[in-house]
Homo-oligomer: 218 residues x 2
DNA sequence: TTGACAAAAAACGTATACAGTTATAATATC
DNA sequence: GATATTATAACTGTATACGTTTTTTGTCAA
């Protein structure tokens, strides 16, 4: 949070986006836990901003599913029920399959190389706290060449909404290698321009992630 | 808008939601046209609300893709580019197919009947301005039994974002009958619990809608 | 007349202060 | 000990003010 606070002075435009980014990151880092209220006065004071951009940021986070509003009780970090988890992963499968189908035929070699370098970083990275970011960086690199920004954005929102619960899980190291093997397999399918193979790998990848998450949350 | 204004006094909770509903409806009705700025002072005065809930509502509408913020120029009604249209319809196809697949096995007869009665209303309804609402009402009734509220919500947002441009088109009457025939076919597929048939009809239905929209916007 | 430029107005973004409402917690009463 | 009351904290919304940016207007010169 320190680097975020100091970056506050550097934030040129849009205060509410700066606040949303800061709070989103804080939620990912577990600084705010599920059902914990996000006190407006406290946050406004800490970030040295006023109520208007702060409340705008909270509405933005609500639309991303990260917080919810309790009437007259303010915003709290939202949790995930088992049905919601199932729903999110089902949506992710069809949306990411769509992204794959539209990306593979047109992906430039440059992006394949970029994705591969991300995987190599993950292989050499011992700090598992960076895992979530790098994980998404890899998938995003592959999806972006679909030239479907709204789709990629929707996938990212759904991804964010579940991955924040997996951060702690990654620390246990267990299963990380399996997940990373999926990544290499997925990259190979992209290289071979094999859409159905890539989709098959992705579905397995997501099913594994879902199983982990359900196990972790129970 | 009159009934909305008068309902302002009745709105118990959440002022920003009331504002968002009012503005969303106004955009659908064409009271605000594409690229038209939504003047904060004017709207606040008209709805007798202050800046905070108004700006919250605008952020909400931004997250629905209905408005966008120009830096230091405020919010304007967003338009749709051809690539965006293509993207939205591709997303709708996979998401609505998912809803169909999860709804058909469990849909209760009651909801089939409800959907059918909506179609009968459409058949007897000459006021085409009601078409968009009834159209969505029909689809929503079918999708809701999937018990996937986040999915249905996402579909609705995407649907809203394109259907607002078709309202005017419906007035021409042209093609309405074809669209309505699709609805009856879709209902029949639900009755027969034929998932792939329903999905096939839906894809044709959406492709037709996309073609209409592209033609209309050029 | 037309174009450029400067002044003025409008609108946005943010901050502060304040009033009303609701929920939680502490206290008092039975 | 249980219930009613009060107090406090926090949210929700309003009103107002101020600086900044954008747009408009009006003037002046070519």
């Amino acid at each position: 949070m320190n680097e975020k606070s100091s970056s506050r002075s550097r934030h040129t435009g849009n205060t509410s986006e700066f606040i949303a980014d800061t709070l989103r990151e804080a939620i990912f880092q577990g600084e705010y836990k599920v059902n914990q209220p996000l006190r407006q006065d406290q946050i406004a004071k800490k970030l040295k901003v006023s109520k208007i951009p702060l409340r705008e940021a909270l509405v933005q986070l609500k639309s991303e599913g990260l917080v919810e509003f309790m009437p007259n009780r303010g915003a709290v970090v939202s949790g995930l029920s088992l049905p919601e988890i199932k729903e999110i992963f089902l949506m992710r499968i069809v949306l990411e399959n769509l992204a794959i189908a539209n990306a593979i035929p047109v992906i430039p070699v440059r992006d394949i190389i970029r994705a591969q370098s991300v995987l190599e970083i993950i292989d050499n990275e011992n700090d598992k706290s960076q895992w979530t970011d790098l994980n998404w960086e890899f998938h995003k690199t592959l999806y972006q060449s679909s030239a479907m920004p709204l789709l990629v954005n929707t996938i990212q929102t759904l991804h964010n909404n579940v991955s924040r619960f997996l951060v702690i899980y990654y620390d246990t190291l267990e299963g990380s290698d399996v997940s990373q093997k999926d990544h290499w397999d997925l990259l190979a399918a992209f290289k071979a321009k094999d859409i159905s193979k890539a989709q098959e790998i992705l579905e397995r990848h997501l099913s594994t992630a879902e199983r982990k998450l359900r196990k972790f949350l129970s």
